[in-house]
Assembly symmetry: C2
Homo-oligomer: 347 residues x 2
C-alpha cells in the first residue's frame, strides 16, 4: 500500500530505474518508444515523484521561507503574504510560512527551522530594530535573503521598502493647505509600552520613515502645532491614546495615524464623542483597505504598493537563488496619497 516509487515504474515498464528516470524527467539519450511506455506505466500505477528525494539529490527544495507578521488585522501583511504565495507559485516555488508576532525569539527559531528544512531562500520582515545576528549569519552562509518593509543597515541583504516619508509629508502639506494648524500624530510602535509623547530612541525603519515624513511636513511650516503620541500596539492603549487626543482642551484638528489599527481606535473614540470625521475632526492613515473606502466619509490614506512589493520580493529572491549572485539591492517603492473625505476644509 506504500506509494509507488521509480523502481515500481521501472519494473512495470520492464526497464531499469535509470531509464525510467530519463523517460520521466526528459534528459539523456532515450528512444521515444521507451518514453511513452514508461509514461504509460507511471500513469497506470499512479506514480507521483517524491520531491523529498529529488531535493535530497539536487540540493534544492524549490521552497522559500516567509517569516512575517501574519496579523489578520493588518492589511499590508495579509496582502503581502498573498502576493508572495501567488508569485512564488507562478514561478514554481512553494512557500513555508512562519508568523512571529514581532517576537524576535520566534523569528530566530523560525529561521533555524527553515535553514534545517533547507529552503532555497528567505523573505523576512524583521521584528526588531536591532539584534540581527541570526540574519547576518544567514548572509554569511550565503543563503539568499530578501528583507521587506524594513531596512537593516547591519545586514547585507536586498531590502524592499516603500517611500512612506514623502507621502506622509504630502499628507501634512495637504492638511495645512486646507487650513489645519494643529496636527497630531498617533504612532504605533512595538518599542514602547503604554504611550508617550516623546520620540522613542528605537524605531523600525518603516515607522521611522513615517515619523520623518510627518516631521518634515510640520517643520517647513510656520505657526503650526504638532502633537506626538507613540504607543504600543494593544487595542486598549490605542484607545487611551486616541481618547487623550480627543479630550485634550486643545484638540488637534487633524490626526495622522501610522496604521489601520490606530485609525480604528480614533474612529471609535471620535464616534463615542459624537464628533464627525471630516467635519469636526480629520483623519489620515497609512495602508489602504477596502474598509477605508466603504465607510463614510472615506478615509484619506497613504497607499503603499504592496502587490508590487510582494512580486518584487519573490522575483529578486529567485534571481539570487538561481544565479547565486551576491548583489545586494536597496529598493524604495513610491507611495501615493489618496484623498477621500476625511480631511475637513477649514479654509
Amino acid at each position: 500500500m506504500a506509494k509507488p516509487t521509480l523502481n515500481d515504474v521501472a519494473s512495470a515498464a520492464g526497464v531499469s530505474r535509470a531509464t525510467a528516470s530519463r523517460a520521466l524527467s526528459g534528459y539523456g539519450r532515450i528512444s521515444p518508444i521507451t518514453v511513452s511506455a514508461v509514461k504509460a506505466a507511471a500513469e497506470k500505477i499512479g506514480y507521483q515523484p517524491n520531491a523529498i528525494a529529488q531535493s535530497m539529490r539536487a540540493g534544492k527544495t524549490r521552497t522559500i521561507g516567509l517569516v512575517i507578521i501574519t496579523d489578520f488585522t493588518n492589511v499590508f501583511f495579509n496582502r503581502a503574504t498573498k502576493g508572495i504565495v501567488d508569485t512564488a507559485r507562478a514561478m514554481g516555488y512553494q512557500v513555508l510560512i512562519f508568523n512571529t508576532n514581532e517576537d524576535v525569539v520566534l523569528e530566530r527559531e523560525a529561521i533555524i527551522t527553515l535553514t534545517q528544512k533547507r529552503v532555497d531562500g528567505l523573505i523576512v520582515v524583521p521584528s526588531t530594530a536591532e539584534g540581527h545576528e541570526h540574519l547576518i549569519s544567514l548572509t554569511k552562509s550565503r543563503t539568499p535573503l530578501v528583507i521587506i518593509d524594513r531596512v537593516l543597515p547591519g545586514v547585507k541583504a536586498t531590502s524592499i521598502t516603500t517611500d512612506d516619508a514623502s507621502s506622509c509629508e504630502a499628507a501634512v502639506d495637504s492638511a495645512v493647505a486646507l487650513g489645519h494648524r494643529h496636527l497630531a500624530f498617533l504612532v504605533a510602535t512595538p518599542t514602547v509600552s503604554g504611550y508617550q509623547s516623546d520620540v522613542p530612541q528605537l524605531l523600525n525603519s518603516a515607522i521611522e520613515s513615517r515619523v520623518k515624513g510627518f516631521l518634515a511636513g510640520t517643520q517647513k511650516q510656520k505657526k503650526i502645532r504638532a502633537d506626538w503620541i507613540f504607543c504600543d500596539e494593544s487595542p486598549e492603549t490605542a484607545l487611551e491614546a486616541a481618547a487623550k487626543l480627543c479630550d485634550s482642551p486643545m484638540r488637534p484638528s487633524v490626526i495622522f495615524t501610522s496604521n489601520n489599527d490606530m485609525a480604528q481606535a480614533v474612529l471609535k473614540v471620535v464616534a463615542e464623542r459624537d464628533l464627525i470625521i471630516g467635519k469636526d475632526i480629520s483623519l489620515v492613515t497609512v495602508d489602504d483597505s477596502t474598509w477605508l473606502e466603504a465607510i463614510y466619509p472615506g478615509i484619506t490614506v497613504i497607499q503603499r504598493p504592496v502587490d508590487e512589493l510582494a512580486q518584487l520580493a519573490v522575483t529578486k529572491l529567485v534571481a539570487q537563488m538561481e544565479t547565486s549572485s551576491k548583489r545586494v539591492e536597496t529598493i524604495l517603492l513610491p507611495t501615493k496619497l489618496v484623498t477621500r473625505g476625511s480631511i475637513a476644509d477649514l479654509s
Copy 2:
C-alpha cells in the same frame, strides 16, 4: 563552504557517523562523555541537521499543506491561516501554503504538488461544491485530510464547520422582534455570475447553511416579506446588487449580507444615498472584524469561532497523522449573534 554534515561532526569529534547521530538525536547506547564531545564538535563547526535527509529517512516531513483562499479582504480566512500556522508551529509542524482563489484547477495543482512534497497531512477549503475526485483520491491513498468551512458529502474526511444557520435564524428573529417586516438577503456565491433573485442550484455548504438559517427565520413568521439577491463576488456586482435593494420603491428595512465584502458594498451605497445605518436602514452581516466594531454604528454580526476552528483543524489533523486512525469526524462549532447598533428599533 558547503554546509557541514553529520560526517563532518563525526570526524571533528573523532567518532563514527553512527555515534554522532546517537549523540545528537539521543537514542541507543552511548556514554555521556561522548555525547558532550559530539555536541561540542557540532556546535563548533555550526552543524545544522538536514531536515530533508531526515524526512527522506523517516518518511515524514513534519509539514502540513494548507490549501485555502487567502484573500486579504476576508477576515475569516486570514485569521484561520494565522491560527493554523501558529498552532502547527506550537505542535512542531510547518505549513506549506497554497492559495486557490476558489479556482478548482489551482486547487488540484496545489494538491498534486503537496502530495509530491510528501506533506504529512492537508487542510483544505474546497473551492467548488462538486468535482472532488482529487480529494477523494487523497482519502483513498490514506493521506490525512481535514476540510474546513465546508462539508463535502462525497468525501470521507474530517470536516470542521460553523453552525451559521442557527445564528442567521436568530438574526432574523432579532430583526423581526424589533419590528422589521421587510427583510433582504444579499448573498455572495461564486456559483452565479452577475446577480439573480432566485436560489442557485449549487451552493457551497457554508453559504447554504446561511441561506437555510435566513429562510428558517423568515418562514416561521407571518406577514413578512423577504427579498433575495445572489451575486458573484466582484465588488462591482456587489455594488449593483446593493444599489438595486436600496433604490427599490419597496426598500427593505433590514439587509442581511453573507460576508464582509457585501456589507461594505451596502455601507457604500447607503452612504451615497445619505441614509443612516441603524436608523433609515439596518444591516447584519457574517464574520466579525475589528472594523465592524470601530465604525459608527457598530454592525451587528454573526461571529464565527475561527480561532477555535483553526486550532481544531490542526489538532485533529495531527491526531490523524500520528495515530494513523481513519476515524472521520464532522464537527459543527457554535456561532454567536453579537448585537451592536446597526438594527433600528422600529417598534
